[in-house]
């Protein structure tokens, strides 16, 4: 519980207060003091404490802030560790079921078995499931008043710590100079999206998406006469099947597809990628899309690409679809391909600092 500091007599100096508040941050992301509103008034803009010497209660050293940068570095580092080293249970169950469907003694069956064995070793040893530990994408929902900059800095710092520890590979290359930045995060990496929600806690979702599967993602503009794809859901389905065909095994199949119809080129691909946070059992709330998800999963698996492109019944583990409004002139279909190693994890931090992780 709270590590209360003795109350400072009368007039704490603002600068020192800032230090005191950041002190008690334990390692496991469990911050200490109930302090729901995280906004930290900067000493400069604060009314001088000297002028408000009266009510002492308000003058206590402010406790550690669970949504502040320091606490979140620990929370996010643990989040990265979990995502990088242990596979979500729904994905493992799907791979296991797929393995049992493949023919006895087939390369496909053996391969899926190796994926399961690999996942077991990674979780048991806290080592990365895949050596391409991917582009970290954080989607963070915060209560009103939490500093967005603190979240961004914490995500970057946590990426650095996790890289130095070996949960992540030094995975950031400065594109202009061609140099790997080493342990340091790079320009625009990790990707951190923060938005406000109406709850009192913070929720962070993380996905680590490797380059091999990112490379086989695709964006099409409809109509597409070669595929017989008009500007409608049937056209979208044709596009998705072509994308699976084009990817073959190169995205480390069996894969999971995030699909968005509509939007502009940037928002469409972003929305497609966000679908990958959804669990495999999750169905689109739109009945037409829910049906399309089922249909494309079945048809995609008929292609026979199989695990790693060796051939087999298991080419896809899931299809997740969404839609965004578009301009009359545009009709994009964005397909984000995620490899079998769908490394996602989430954490909810309550206003009292209690962190609950889930996959």
């Amino acid at each position: 519980m709270a590590q209360k500091k003795p109350k400072k007599p009368a007039r704490p100096v603002p600068a020192k207060k800032g230090v005191a508040r950041r002190e008690p941050v334990p390692a496991k992301g469990r911050a200490v003091r109930p302090r729901p509103v995280a906004k930290k008034p900067s000493p400069a803009t604060k009314p001088s404490p000297a002028k408000k010497a009266g009510p002492v209660v308000a003058k206590k050293p402010v406790p550690s802030d669970p949504f502040g940068e320091k606490a979140l570095v620990a929370t996010f580092t643990e989040l990265i560790r979990r995502a990088a080293t242990s596979m979500p249970p729904d994905i493992l169950a799907a791979i296991e079921a797929a393995r049992d469907r493949e023919a006895e003694g087939s390369v496909a069956r053996e391969t899926l078995g190796v994926l399961l064995e690999n996942s077991r070793i990674a979780a048991a040893t806290s080592r990365p499931v895949c050596q391409d530990t991917g582009m970290p994408l954080f989607e963070v929902a915060v209560p009103r008043g939490v500093s967005i900059r603190a979240i961004e800095k914490a995500a970057a710092k946590a990426t650095e710590v996790a890289t130095a520890t070996g949960y992540l590979r030094p995975n950031s290359v400065d594109t202009l100079s061609g140099k790997n930045t080493g342990n340091a995060p790079g320009r625009g990496m990790p990707i951190v999206h923060v938005h406000e929600h109406s709850r009192s806690g913070l929720k962070a979702d993380l996905i680590l998406k490797g380059g091999g599967c990112e490379n086989v993602g695709a964006q099409y503009s409809l109509p597409n006469s070669e595929l017989g794809a008009d500007r409608d859901l049937d056209g979208v389905k044709r596009i998705v099947l072509d994308a699976v065909f084009q990817a073959q095994g190169k995205g480390c199949s069996p894969g999971i597809l995030g699909v968005c119809m509509g939007g502009d080129r940037a928002s469409g691909m972003g929305e497609a990628k966000r679908q990958l946070f959804r669990k495999l059992g999750d169905r689109s709330p739109e009945p037409a899309l829910a049906a399309a998800e089922e249909e494309l999963l079945t048809k995609g698996n008929l292609l026979g690409v199989g695990p790693m492109g060796f051939g087999g019944k298991t080419t896809l583990l899931g299809v997740k679809m969404s839609h965004l409004a578009r301009l009359p002139a545009s009709y994009f279909v964005s397909v984000s391909y995620m490899c079998w190693a769908t490394r996602r994890a989430s954490v909810e931090v309550s206003s009292s600092g209690k962190a609950v992780y889930a996959q």
């Binding site: 190796v114 590979r169 099947l241």
Partner: protein, 201 residues
Amino acid sequence: MSLARKLTTPLTPEVVRSLKRGDAVEVSGLMVTGRDALHKLWVKTWPEYPDLDLRGAVLYHCGPVMRKEKNGSWSVLAAGPTTSIREEPYQAAVIGKYGFGGVVGKGGMGLKTLAGLKEHGAVYLHAIGGAAQVLAQRVVRVLGVRHLEELGVPEAMWIYEVKDFPLIVTMDAHGDSLHEEVRKGSKEVLDELLGRKKPAA
């Protein structure tokens, strides 16, 4: 893979030519990692490695997670394959220059490499993508590293001794490619699903 044929480097031309598309093998011996930046460096400067005999060794498209231990030695934390097709422009020339007997990666490679395999007597061996832990366990020793300073950890040329490294021959030295076969089969299904006529081969 239980029925895998055991191979030891150097892979001789006879052994290489006896391998067929679809064979499961387990390779032991000398393996060096090399990916995008190293291939680029190779074809630009063709560095020599006088203390390293790469004839018949295996080249691995891999950017591993490595950790330097306190005593200065290196540990392999994760070492699965990366996508090979990016090395397509360089691969045949690299095999010709250094004499690799096998190229290990994932996703397969193109016609230029397929021709290079045939010409130089080498095979393309597919590792299981994402199986970074299973494969790291088959690296029994890190023998050294080259170009670490200039290329960084994932892109450097790591020199490994491996034992029973599990692989599938997907492109052999006779011009056969499992990738072409799977692609062709899936194309037929796709055409059927889209109600298209099969295009002329």
